[in-house]
Structures are given as C-alpha cells and as structure tokens.
C-alpha cells in the first residue's frame, strides 16, 4: 500500500501503430483530450510507441516531468505490457505504475469504418486508464525458486525429443507415457516422407536413449493424476498403473535378486488368452500378457487385466525371475518439477462416421494408419500388402485425401490435417515400388506439399506413374461378388464423372485431439482452440508457451504437424522450459490479496472461496483476521469480489482503482 502521498502526475502516450490506429482514430484529437484529464501533465503521440524512440519518449518524460504514472494507448497489454513496463522502469518509476489503453485490437481494428465512434471510444479508454494510473502504487514481484527438474507428458517423438534436450541440458526430466512403451504414433509408421527413412530405424535409437539417459526418469504405463502448484514449483501426482510385471529395478527393491522382467517372452508363449493387438489395429493377435512390438522401451511385458483370466501359467513360466504379480495394484507417486511440456499427440478421426466411403462396411476400405502397418516389414503381413477380404495383391489402389479434413459438412473437421497429402504420396510410391504394375489413384482436392523437398517428392511420384484425380470422392460402393470397390467422383479438371473400379481404398483420415485432451488441459489449466487442440500463448510469437506460466506445448497436441515440425517445436519447448530452470528463479506478478485488518471481521467467507487454499484466519490482537500466504495466492481476486466488509485489498486491481475506472467512463472523468 502506498506510503507516499504525492499528487498524481500522469504521462499519456498515444501510438499511431502506423495506420493501424491512426487510420481509424483521430490520434491528434485523442491526445488533446488526454491533456484535459485530471492529473495528466504531459500527452504525446508517436508513430510506433513500441520502437526504441517511442520508448525513449516515456523514459525521458518520466525524468523531465517527474511523472508518477504512465498510460500508453496502443495495442493490447497482452502483447506490449511487458515492453512498456520495462520502459517505465528504465525511466526510474516502479514498473507497476504503468497502465495500457487498448485502442487497436479492441478498437481501431474492430471499428474500421466508424472513425467517430472509434475516436470517442479511444478517448473513454484513455480516461479509464488514466483514472487507474492516478491510483497505481509501487509493487514488487515476488521471486520464487525454481525446482531443478522438468516433466514431459507424452512420449511420442515430440515428447522424446523434448525430454532428451532437457536431460542433455543437465535437467532432471520425468517422461510420462500412458502406454506401456514410448514411441507414440511414429513407431506405427513404416517409412517417413520425403526421405523414405525407415521410421523405426530413426526413432528406435531415440527411444533407447530416453530409456537409459541418467537424467531421465521414464514412467511408462503412467498417467498424471493431479497437478498442484505453479511455475517453478509444480507438485504432480502420478498414477502408475498396475502393470502386473516388475522391472529388474522394482524386483531388486523387493529383494528378488537377479529377478524382474528381461523381456524373454516365456510368459507370452504360454498365455492362453488371445486378443487383437491395438498397435496393429487388430490385424495381429496379442496375448493377455504382451508387448506391442519387438522394439518397445522399456522391454517389459504388461498384463492386460481386462483380458487376463489369472490362470497363473505365466507366473509359472517366469520361474525364478518372479517378475509377474497378478495381484499388483495401481500406485501413486508425487514428484516436484519447475516446468512442464505437454506432448500428448493426436487420434485419427473416426472415419466410419463418413458413411459414404464405406469404412467398416466394406472390408477393402482401410485407413492410412492401417496401410502403414500392412506395408511395414514388422507388421501383421510381414510387409506384404494384401487385401483384407481375400489376401490377394491389389493392383489398383485408390487413395482418398482430405477424408474428414477440410470438411464443412459438420461430420468432419474444418481444418487441414497437414500431413495426409505427403504420406499418401509416400504410400503411392511404396506400392509402386513393392508391387510392380500396381497403380495408385490419388483423389485429391489440392496437394499441399509445403515442406523442404516435399514439392520435389510430389513430382517424383507423378513421374513414377501415380494417377492424380482432382475431385472429392462422392461415394464408394462394393461389388458384392469380387469385393472390388467403385469409387465415384467428379474429375473437376476434366469436368466429367469418374467411376473407378479399385481393388482397395485407403482413406487419409483427418486427425483430431485425443480423447483425453480435455482432461489434460483441465489438469494443467491450458486453454484450447475452437477445434479442441491445446492453445499456444501466441500463434506467431509464442507457439510453444501457454497462458499458464511454466507449461509448454510440443507436437500435434497443439495442432496438426509432421515429424520435422513436431521435433522442431519440441526443441523449442525444451529450450523455453529450461530457461526458468537454469535461471533458478521466477518472478510472480504481485497481484496478491492483502487483508486490511482493521476492516476484517474474521468471518472466513473468503477462505472457502479461495481456489488455492491461500487464505486462513490468524489471531491478532485478540481477534481473528484473514491472512494471505502470498506464495499460494495467484491474484484472481475471487476473495476480494465477495468480502462483505470490503476488507480485502487486491493489489493492482483494488476496489478504489476499479471504481475509479467505472466513474471515469460513466461520469466523464470528473470524479
């Protein structure tokens, strides 16, 4: 609370933002109006207030006019508040004596054709800002230490890369994966475009690295149960799902010397339960005790307790290793980290919802991910592409692009899924390479080959003999006898209908946020975009950050991305997440609640309202008064909005400040 009682001396600076503001708003008139406001000592305008000369105006004015508060009327505080706070500080004022009037994002840009209305609104906005600036006080951010550890949620290629970068930077990193193995979607792919690298070959070394890196604590088959705390000091509760099998370390901890799972597979061989393997989209069987594929990390078997009949044959087969415990229960563990990276990936759109293409109605209509497994040497057919209906080799394969993407019918997704064009080109190449004479027909709306060497790859596939038909497929029907498929479309370049009889149809299904995304974002307090992807702090300038300090994003959980973009963003997120950790401390904005003890009746209503348990009652001078634990308070003001005695003082959003803003607007600044 302010101790000095100096009369307010405010400086107002109106930004033109080129023509962004000045093209709509009469900046000169606004500046002249600002000069008439009580407490305003100086008002100025400039082309670009955020530029160095613009900021110098603020710095010089503070010194020249002995100002007590600064108002900049420009863009949004969400963009430039930090910039101008720094300038305010450089001028020798406390940085919290700065207030911003948003006359661009919420004014000139949205009232482009109403010069008069926009100018009047800008005047009011400045009046409101000046009213607050008159009452601003010196505040001091609270500095809190940062735990020297990070957490990465999701161990696909993005999560793996982020974890390796953090670990290599010397940071203890917890890598959390809900599946029994790391690898994610990339481990299901056969080749990668446009280099045609074998996906597993380039991923497996990274999978192995995260499994044995001394700075990485890998938790597979684990989910985040609860998140508490704030940047620098997150307390995270992990649910380690009952795996039914112990690792050598876990066995050693239980005193079983030389025991634990070594991946020998003796249990798998005797297990009598057969289930479809979801990693292979059900095209291959697995046992109730399983690994998805030979390269899993860690190489430890997992019991599918939903399928297990607890016959105990596996326990017997495991013998002296004593790795299997069919009575195992979920366990919980709490870890403390400074920053968090979310890399929770994506799901394929349930393309059976697009009834017209016949997925799950006709056997020979498959999705691209199923195609990846069918063409993969480690897949269910050993890499032989066969039709599901009769095992014959297809000679005509139709690829339907934008299957559910760029779809405004309400059934699909309105956005472009970004990597389907390229992997479908890759698929076309693969079938022409593996099956001589087999012709791919690619039904497309546009081919989007935006990346490095992508367009060149497109030309290559054209030259290799793939047929491209521009037009959205209307319908796919099956010939009941041959199980061949009729693909009906319009060739929009030739302007004539197409009826293609294909042996097989591959649907490049759209991608969508995973089913858990909503749960994840609520756990970590992250917003989502309209399509449900996790929302970055700024699409251009902060693509890895979120509005929750200390939580960062990597990979497709933020929006469709191919592997290079995912890895690049993961490296960016790792860099961003390591900065507070290496700095060792972060500053929290000092928007804390304070108790004006003389007004507090000790009713305790605020305590039940506080979402962070930051408030409690203490005894002072023989009566109960509210007390704030500043490290827990996040400054929402929910307590201050309700206190019946008006005893809570919300720093930087005080009741007098807000009331002064209301008065300034409605009473015209006379109060």
């Amino acid at each position: 609370m302010a101790e000095e009682k100096k009369q307010p001396r405010i400086g107002v600076f109106v930004c033109h933002c080129g023509t962004n503001i000045a093209g709509t708003i009469d900046v000169g008139a606004v500046k002249e109006y600002a000069k008439t406001l009580p407490g305003v000592i100086v008002a100025d305008d400039y082309q670009y207030m955020c530029s160095t000369p613009g900021q110098s105006k603020i710095i010089d004015a503070i010194k020249e006019h002995d100002l007590t508060g600064i108002v900049v009327a420009a863009c949004t505080p969400r963009l430039h508040e930090p910039t101008f706070r720094t300038a305010t500080k450089e001028g020798g004022l406390n940085p919290f004596r700065f207030e911003m009037a948003n006359i661009r994002d919420q004014n000139s840009w949205v009232h482009m054709h109403d010069h008069e209305g926009a100018t009047a609104k800008a005047k009011d906005a400045i009046n409101i800002a000046v009213a607050k600036a008159r009452l601003l006080e010196d505040l001091y951010p609270k500095s809190v230490p940062v735990e020297h550890a990070a957490m990465v949620v999701g161990a696909g290629v993005g999560g793996i890369q982020a974890a390796l970068d953090l670990a290599n930077a010397g940071i203890k990193t917890y890598l959390i994966e809900k599946q029994p193995t790391v690898g994610g979607r990339m481990s299901q792919l056969d080749k990668t475009f446009p280099t045609l690298d074998c996906s597993q070959c380039i991923l497996t070394p990274k999978m192995v690295d995260v499994g044995r890196h001394p700075n990485i604590e890998l938790h597979t088959y684990t989910e985040v149960e609860a998140v508490d705390g704030y940047i620098g000091n997150f307390d995270i509760t992990l649910r380690k799902k009952a795996r039914g099998v112990m690792s050598p370390t876990e066995a050693a901890a239980k005193g079983i010397i030389g025991g634990g799972c070594n991946g020998c597979g003796d249990c798998d061989a005797v297990c009598p339960v057969i289930k479809p393997n979801p990693f292979e989209f059900g095209m291959k069987p697995r046992k109730a005790i399983y690994i998805y594929h030979p390269q899993v990390v860690p190489l430890i078997y997992t019991v599918d307790f939903d399928a297990c009949v607890k016959c105990g044959l596996c326990v017997e087969a495991c013998g002296e290793k004593k790795a299997i415990d069919l009575e195992m229960q979920d366990t919980f563990e709490t870890v403390k980290v400074g920053t968090i990276i979310l890399a929770t990936g994506y799901d394929a759109f349930p393309i059976e919802k697009k009834r017209e293409w016949g997925y799950q109605q006709f056997e020979n209509v498959i999705t691209s991910l199923e195609f990846e497994r069918l063409i993969c040497a480690s897949g269910p057919t050993g890499g032989h592409l066969i039709r599901p209906s009769d095992g014959k080799t297809p000679m005509k394969v139709a690829f339907i692009l934008c299957a559910g993407s760029r779809d405004n019918t309400g059934v699909g997704k309105p956005y472009c899924s970004r990597f389907c064009c390229m992997y479908s080109l890759k698929h076309a190449h693969q079938i022409m390479e593996k099956i001589p004479g087999c012709i791919p027909y690619i039904f497309y709306m546009d081919i989007r080959s935006f990346g490095k060497m992508y367009e060149e790859f497109y030309y290559r596939i054209q030259n290799e003999g793939a047929k491209f038909i521009r037009g959205r497929v209307a319908n796919v029907l099956e010939d009941a006898k041959t199980k061949n498929l009729h693909v009906y479309a319009e060739d929009t370049l030739l302007g004539r209908p197409v009826d293609l009889e294909a042996d097989m149809v591959v649907l490049a299904a759209a991608v969508q946020p995973t089913a858990e995304t909503d749960h994840v974002r609520h756990l970590f307090g992250v917003s989502c975009s309209q399509d449900g992807w996790l929302l970055e702090a700024h699409p251009k300038l902060n693509p890895c950050g979120t509005t929750t300090a200390g939580v960062f994003l990597a990979g497709v959980c933020q929006g469709p991305k191919d592997i290079p973009d995912t890895v690049a963003q993961a490296e960016g997120a790792a860099s961003a997440a390591s900065i507070p950790i290496h700095t060792g401390k972060v500053e929290l904005e000092p928007y804390f609640a304070q108790c004006m003890e003389d007004k507090c009746a000790g009713c305790g209503m605020c305590i039940s309202l506080c979402p962070y348990s930051a408030l409690d009652l203490i005894e002072k001078d023989g009566r109960q008064v509210m007390h704030v634990t500043e490290a827990k308070c996040k400054g929402c003001g929910t307590c201050g909005g309700f206190c019946p005695g008006g005893a809570i003082y919300m720093q930087h959003f005080t009741t007098p400040q807000i009331v002064a803003q209301i008065d300034a607007f409605l009473l015209g600044g006379e109060q």
Partner: protein, 141 residues
C-alpha cells in the same frame, strides 16, 4: 440533443485469460462490431464485486456486461462460476430496484472465440438499445 441518436453507455468487465483474449482475437481477425461498449480488464470475473455493478448503474450505465471463461475453463479453477452465482443474485436485486434485469448480462467467451465476442457485442448493444436509457437516467432527466 433531441435529434441526435441516443448512444447507450455500456460497461464491460472482462477477464484477462478468456474474454479479453477473445476480444483481442476479434481485433486481429478484423471482425467488425458496434463501438458502444467500454471495457475494463480484470484478472478473473471472480473479482467482480456486486458493488461494481451497482456503482455502474448508479453512475448512469445503460447496460453492464461481465464476460469470462467457459465453465470448466477458468484460469483460476472456478472464479467464473462464483461470479455467475453473484450475477444471478444481482439480476434479482436490479429487478427489485426497477431496473430491467437484462441490462446486466454475463457471457462466456473463450480466447479462441473472436467471432463470438463480436456477436456478444452486437447482441448486448442491441438489447440495451431496445430497452432505451436506463430508468435511473430517465429519472435524472
């Protein structure tokens, strides 16, 4: 004065994380809406003291909008929910005072809903315009 079109005075109190960001997004998308609303930014709608609403109407506001995050999306867990309960009570108090309760409105606009913000602006301005000047302002005249 009589010939001039009456311009309503509408105050918006909006939270930093969702609605303020949504309003900014309407800006970067250049979605146009009427300029009659003046906004005050707070961190969370949980901060909205019923006093602010009363003060605004007493000062001559023709309408007040409070806008925050969607339920379940609050940056501070449930501040918007606590605010919504208060606004519900405020509406009945306003009614008792003879002020039409739809002069006070609470909306939920997320950071990705720029278009929705513009729609809310249009709706709020239209609602207040249809109602005309606040009864308190009519009394003053």
């Amino acid at each position: 004065m009589a010939d001039e079109e009456w311009k309503p005075k509408i105050l918006a109190i909006i939270c930093n994380w969702c609605s303020y960001a949504g309003a900014d997004l309407a800006g970067s998308a250049r979605t146009q809406y009427p300029p009659d609303v003046r906004a005050i930014r707070i961190m969370c709608t949980g901060r909205v003291d019923p006093l602010f609403i009363m003060k605004a109407f007493a000062d001559g506001a023709d309408g007040v909008l409070v806008s925050g995050c969607h339920f379940g999306d609050c940056h501070y867990i449930a501040g918007n929910f606590k605010c919504a309960k208060r606004m519900f009570l405020m509406k009945s108090i306003l009614k008792d005072l003879g002020i039409e309760d739809n002069r006070l409105r609470m909306t939920f606009v997320s950071a990705s809903e720029g278009a929705k913000w513009a729609k809310v602006m249009e709706d709020v301005v239209q609602t207040v315009k249809d109602l005309g000047p606040s009864p308190l302002n009519q009394m003053k005249q």
